[in-house]
Symmetry: C2
């Protein structure tokens, strides 16, 4: 047992408590708080955020971390404690370069920004959002510059923050590889655009009944309602206080059945990750998913590789028909399977099919690169966005609501996050391929028994939290480092069969 | 401007932010958190609560408060600043006597206790609640003893905490006066128990429609949904982060229409108080209602003096009929008015009529007195409760769910709070009498225009927060100190007319 680590514990405890409060304010702002609350509330959030900062960034913690990093002390630490020290050292280095008053002001800014973005999206009014977005970008650039290594590109600082060891070079390569493989496939499928009908999904579906069915779906994949809740928000998301309090949101559309269904499976995948973190690390700095890419792999594994398979729906499609008899009694499981896998260039990322999804990520990635390389102003963004959609997907958004305003991430200051979405899909395909080598995945799905899948993921990924990184987890589980080939093979095979190419 | 007060400001800010987080956790635990969350979450709450404690209880604040209390410094302070210093001095004296680790442990205990009470009530299982209640009582006694003055009774410490200047002597007198006047009235009415029928309220009322109508009612009395929300919880309550974020809960019963209706008006009255606090004090230590009794006067003024009058319903009863045409089309406004004012001894305080309400308060007051005088053990409480109900109201609860487990207050450590409920009703009657001397209250009600009433209360009570105490507010507004005679006259007149005595 390390005496030194015990002296670190009160700082960890206080930091955890403040971040839990911070998380709860965030959840509340998006799901429950009254409209006019945020002005005053952001003041409280700002103060808590300043406290959170000074709890970890101070001379006592600095000295403790230094002493805990010596070889002699490291030998006294448990596996989890070592991971905590490593993780804190990284955060410490990142945070100590940011002046505390800027950190607080930025936290208050992003709290204020969410409702501004939400209103701007609702009213198709990018101009009302532009000034606050400009402020956020200025902060993001400034913060990134504080942590820029010599010769490092500004945007690489951000990419590395979300996915350790990744940079523009790797991601440019990754997208190039995908482009080479997917563009011809998308091209062929576009020529057969009416081959699959999605009409059955766009009938009128009662929202309250959708809510009930989504609750069933969450339970079906293993979401534990004693440890989690589902609420509503503008854009679905997952957040957590600890492994016994994991919260997801959903958004229901009367005329688009698949939207809420696949959102709940997607967020449910995120939630299973957080619910699966081990009890002894859940309230520590390593108590969450290891990276954005790995997190997204879990959500997209459930949403796509599992959730959009014929086998997944085999035991439960009848329940969906029971919920909506009038709308679905004549729709066969195969027709439904085809409809939910229809591929077609579209405007909204979260509603995109599996095949064209990466293009949405690529577009935002390219725009973010330009922002951080100083090649574009905020006012030019909507036009740039529209131009890229035309270029890659041959579509132009009718307005900014279905264009550049569609996602909340920038309002939270999350630049460099988006590539993880595409990376997540690729990791999901790699994991799915591995799962099939260790268990009869399709048989489990057909039997409606998803527990072996969740248990395997919990055992090999979830429980470790941030104690192992993405590459370590992949290596130990599959015997192989990250490999996007599985993703390309999976998409090619699935969509060739669907469209009989 | 006081330089010294400026030095106090950062402590006030941090204390406010932590208490806002604390409030939000409390709201979330009762309305949104998953069932199994509280074990871990209470650890975070405990830490925040310890922080809240040490923010105000430290040598710097002690020295500042001492310096700010000198005559010379007091002259430099604004009215609000003086009130803040006075209030902090009081809290400081109370808190500094409690060891910080006990304060934190108690906060965590009451967080854990809420779901235990809630489950015990649901399952009629007092025994499962008894150990945690015993722990809470032990803390409450210990904390009270820390602040006991020489010769002061333990329970008087608690009474004074909620209502400055009140003690058992005054409250015993108050209840004696009420008993003398009300017992004969209740007796006469009991003899005419079938004179008023409440059947119309106990038909089947769709809960979703009730929710919509309750929302309308809240708006009708002036609840601002841009600054507030309504959620559901086991027992209705009001809480607030500041004057732009005031939250109430409700509880809906399919076969008891008046329950949710009068709960929303009651909690709405509390909410109007908090929404009316002035902007410049809302996030300070004097930014809430001045006392429990004054708070309760606002909720009961709206619930009873206004909300249960014939004039209140004159312009809106038709809307209730529209919401429930099948149930109410044959019920006249007069029949409805009589039904909602039916008086009869009953078991549940929150569902009690205006007339017998005070008896419920009196019973708990007497039991609390016995607990703090050491005359009763926790295990004896259910029997004692049932015995007193038989004695005063000639009723015995069939089980503890409708007996001693009915209210959440003890699970939150709130002993000495209950007398304020009766006091609040008496203050409400005094204020109502005054309102009629300064404006045509009944005319406003008939016109469905409740804004003049809210504005008057805001101007003379709400905006001051804790800057003036109950007696000061009453004196300045009505020209008279607290006087329970108005309450007795009001009840006697109203119920004599209703029951044609």
């Amino acid at each position: 047992m390390s005496e030194l680590f015990n002296r670190l514990q009160p700082y960890l405890d206080k930091s955890y408590a403040l971040s839990a409060a911070f998380t709860l304010f965030g959840w509340d702002n998006s799901t429950g708080a009254p409209r006019d609350a945020i002005g005053n509330t952001s003041r409280a959030i700002e103060i808590l955020s300043g406290e959170m900062y000074s709890t970890l960034i101070n001379d006592e913690v600095k000295a403790l971390l230094k002493d805990l990093s010596t070889e002699a002390e490291q030998e006294k630490l448990t596996f989890q404690e070592k991971a905590i020290v490593k993780n804190l050292n990284k955060d410490f280095k990142e945070l100590q370069n940011i002046p505390p008053e800027e950190f607080s002001a930025f936290s208050a800014l992003v709290s204020r920004a969410y409702p501004v973005w939400s209103k701007a999206k609702q009213e198709n009014d990018f101009a009302s959002y532009a000034p606050v977005l400009q402020e956020i970008i200025t902060y993001a650039k400034k913060f990134a510059s504080y942590n820029q290594k010599e010769g490092q590109e500004l945007y690489d600082v951000l990419l590395n923050k979300f996915e350790e060891g990744f940079n523009m070079e790797i991601i440019d390569d990754f997208f190039a590889k995908l482009r080479t493989a997917l563009v011809p496939l998308v091209h062929k499928i576009s020529e057969k655009s009416n081959f699959i009908s999605t009409e059955c999904l766009h009938q009128s579906y009662d929202v309250e009944t959708q809510k009930k069915f989504c609750r069933f779906l969450a339970e079906h994949i293993g979401f534990d309602f004693n440890r989690g809740v589902i609420a509503e928000s503008e854009h679905p998301f997952t957040t957590e206080l600890h492994n016994h309090d994991v919260r997801i949101t959903n958004h229901y559309h009367q005329h688009q059945l698949d939207s809420a269904i696949f959102s709940v499976i997607h967020e449910g995948g995120h939630a299973l990750y957080e619910m699966g973190v081990a009890d002894d690390i859940t309230m520590t700095p390593v108590g969450g998913g290891t990276s954005m890419g790995m997190h997204e792999s879990q959500s997209r594994l459930y949403e796509n590789n599992l959730g959009r398979s014929l086998e997944f729906w085999e035991p439960i499609y009848c329940k969906l028909q029971e919920a909506f008899p009038e709308q679905l009694h004549r729709v066969t499981p195969e027709e439904f399977y085809k409809a939910i896998n229809h591929a077609s260039p579209s405007l909204i990322r979260t509603e995109a099919d599996e095949l064209t999804y990466s293009f949405h990520v690529m577009i935002r990635y390219e725009i973010e690169k330009m922002i951080f390389q100083g090649n574009v102003s905020v006012d030019e963004l909507p036009a740039l966005w529209n131009q890229k959609y035309q270029e890659y997907l041959s579509l132009t958004p009718a307005n900014d609501t279905e264009g550049i305003l569609q996602d909340m991430h920038w309002s939270g200051g999350d630049f460099g996050y988006f590539p993880s979405y595409a990376l997540g899909s690729a990791i999901a395909a790699q994991i799915y391929h591995h799962l099939e080598t260790v268990m009869p995945v399709k048989k489990h799905l057909k039997e409606g028994n998803l527990m072996p899948i969740r248990e395997y993921l919990k055992e090999h990924i979830h429980r470790f939290g941030k104690c192992k990184n993405t590459q370590e987890l992949l290596m130990e589980m599959t015997g192989e480092a990250f490999n996007p080939d599985y993703y390309i093979a999976y998409l090619t095979e699935k969509y060739s069969a669907l469209y009989e190419l």
